[in-house]
């Protein structure tokens, strides 16, 4: 869907390995490494508020990445991602509380268990297309949510469950400043894993299914297997993100993770650009920062001239919800290929400056 950036003149590859590198040029690789090193210094500089926002962006970026595998790379659609996110959160807390598995191992284990549940939901969904698939994933969302609100042995029922903080070798990490590194490590690993997946045989099979499933099937790609695998992968990353969230918040509640959160995940990848991995991160950052800026805006507008002119008073809180919806619609209208494409265009503009058109 989103084309690769223009390769500069004189840059030619002489082996398959050189052709499938993750970073197209040495400069982009060095920039990426420098960026990660800079981020390592972030907890020393950021305020608590910005740290918590960054951690949220990191956690949701992993879940959005899973959804992007399913939606952007395999061409399916799912509005059940928030259910799997919560499943990962509750599972990690449950296996840590009940079986005393350290949090360090509980998080990947929760991801695996969520992937297995995702495979169970993915099997019937793999045969469906279009609207029917949407309804099947909607069913997954509601089944999971209902299970959480009733299964007191697992999630505590309607009372929020509590999770233990992250600890490595007996040292407990307290506070956002330390948890930031955990999330950063997981984001790096997950993003590298998925970028690598897309250049392997299985990743190319997923893209083939997205582009023209009939041709893919004729070529010998097993549609059911790859579609189910895609569901499993999406659930795996959602589970990991959920587990990270559980050990960050230390309290897991289902509120805010209903169908509206699933749609927010979809919005993250649409705004960032479906089928683009860097776009997932950008889209997640946009969607997480959007309510914060709306909150800031409404906070500043309160009591001001516009508030009095429109007589908003307490309804200013709804302005936030309206604005978020409007911005998502504006993105769909003016920037359907997402932020990733816009970023590539900006880069191309400066590459060709002053000869751009």
């Amino acid at each position: 869907m989103v084309a690769r950036s223009t390769i500069p003149a004189g840059d030619f590859r002489t082996s398959y390995a050189a052709d499938t590198t993750i970073f197209p040029t040495k400069t982009s690789r060095n920039f990426a490494i420098a960026g990660v090193i800079l981020l390592c210094f972030a907890p020393l500089v950021f305020s608590e508020y910005w740290l918590s926002v960054s951690i949220q962006i990191g956690i949701f970026a992993i879940a959005a990445l899973g959804l992007n595998i399913l939606v952007g790379f395999t061409g399916q659609i799912s509005i059940g991602q928030a259910g799997f996110f919560l499943l990962g959160a509750f599972t990690s807390a449950y296996i840590n509380n009940t079986y005393a598995i350290p949090v360090f191992f509980a998080i990947p284990l929760a991801g695996v268990i969520t992937a297995l549940v995702g495979l169970v939901f993915g099997l019937p969904a793999a045969r469906l297309k279009g609207l029917y698939l949407v309804i099947a994933t909607l069913a997954a969302q509601y089944i999971l949510l209902d299970f959480f609100s009733r299964a007191e042995w697992f999630s505590g029922g309607s009372v929020p469950a509590s999770a233990n903080p992250f600890s490595i070798f007996g040292y407990t990490l307290r506070g956002d400043r330390q948890y930031f590194y955990v999330v950063l490590a997981y984001v790096l690993v997950c993003y590298l894993l998925v970028t690598n997946l897309m250049r392997t045989r299985d990743g190319r099979a997923l893209i083939a299914i997205r582009d023209h499933y009939l041709s893919a099937e004729i070529m010998g790609i097993n549609l059911t297997k790859y579609r189910t695998l895609s569901f499993g992968l999406a659930a795996f990353f959602a589970g990991i993100a959920g587990a990270l969230y559980a050990h960050y918040q230390l309290v897991i509640s289902q509120e805010g993770f209903g169908i509206e959160r699933s749609i927010l995940f979809l919005a993250m990848i649409i705004i960032g650009g479906t089928g683009s991995i860097m776009g997932t991160l950008m889209g997640t950052a946009f969607v997480v920062l959007l309510p914060e800026s709306m909150e800031w805006l409404s906070h500043n507008l309160k009591g001001g001239a516009i508030d009095k002119a429109l007589a908003l008073n307490n309804n200013i809180t709804f302005l936030r919800e309206i604005a978020i919806g409007l911005i998502i619609i504006a993105f769909l209208m003016f920037e359907p290929d997402g932020l990733a494409r816009r970023w590539r265009q900006i880069k191309t503009y400066w590459k060709l400056y002053p000869f751009s058109h």
Partner: protein, 268 residues
């Protein structure tokens, strides 16, 4: 420039402009959680306005010890994750608030551990009994040494209502066991007094029927209304807030066959 680039730069400017409010050293910072848009917003909105007005009055009349109060009011939409995010902002080590005016049962119960760790007192709009155990010695609730509220807890209020109901049944001279049913959403706030109420009801000689569930938001609850009638309950405890309780009672008004001769006991 074109509309697209104008929209783009406006969006970027908005995003770049986010920042968190900081408190003045000469002011006492108070965190305030209110529900203006969530499941209990029908009672949360006037309560929140009351809190804001009270602190404004205190400020106008000299503040506390000469210092003004800086109240940071936030709508958290009755969602626990948003409450926790706000709490993190208020409990930042260099910028801690002096106290928090809390609201909902679910988020206050979730915050009890954090409040005890950070030693920030919380006066909640939730009167759940789970907040009344300072050391957790009852074994039924987490320790909540920094949670306060004024008035009877939900469980105590329900116990009082049940005591009245038992006497009312006897005074009316009706035979046999009265039937009690708990109605409310499957949510910590309506569920708070359920166990206590059903225990006391059994002790007082009530027949406790299986609870009926209806959501916190107002809606069409004719189904619950019919279940209530068919269960033959005599006393029903409506656990939700005003708007959704009124929806249930309006459902009875609308559907004549659903008119139930049940005495309703209220909550919060």
């Amino acid at each position: 420039m074109t509309i697209k680039s104008w929209l783009g730069s406006a969006a970027l400017a908005l995003l770049a402009g986010t920042f968190a409010a900081s408190a003045n050293a000469q002011q006492i910072a108070i965190g305030h959680l209110q529900d203006l848009s969530g499941g209990t917003s029908d009672v949360g909105t006037p309560y929140g306005q009351g809190v804001v007005d009270t602190f404004a009055w205190v400020n106008k009349n000299g503040g506390i010890g000469g210092k003004q109060l800086a109240v940071d009011s936030n709508d958290y939409g009755y969602q626990v994750p948003r409450a926790i995010a706000l709490y993190k902002k208020w409990s930042a080590p260099d910028n801690k608030v002096a106290a928090i005016m809390g609201w909902g049962t679910a988020d206050t119960e979730a915050l009890t551990g954090f409040l005890a760790n950070d030693k920030i007192p919380d006066m909640s709009g939730s009167y759940a009994a789970a907040l009344t155990d300072p050391e957790g010695s009852s074994g039924k609730a987490k320790p909540a040494p920094y949670n306060f509220f004024y008035g009877p807890s939900y469980s105590d209020a329900l116990r009082a209502e049940l005591t009245w109901a038992a006497e009312d049944w006897k005074a009316k001279g009706k035979p046999g066991k009265p039937k009690f049913v708990h109605m409310g959403a499957n949510h910590p706030y309506p569920n708070a007094p359920k166990a206590a109420g059903e225990a006391l009801a059994t002790e007082l000689g009530f027949e406790v029927l299986p609870p009926l569930v209806f959501a916190l938001a107002p809606g069409d609850y004719s189904a619950q209304c019919l279940s209530l009638k068919s269960s033959g309950a005599n006393y029903a405890y409506l656990g939700n807030t005003a708007a959704s309780n009124i929806s249930v009672m309006k459902a009875e008004e609308r559907r004549r066959r659903c008119a139930v001769p049940v005495q309703r006991l209220g909550h919060g």
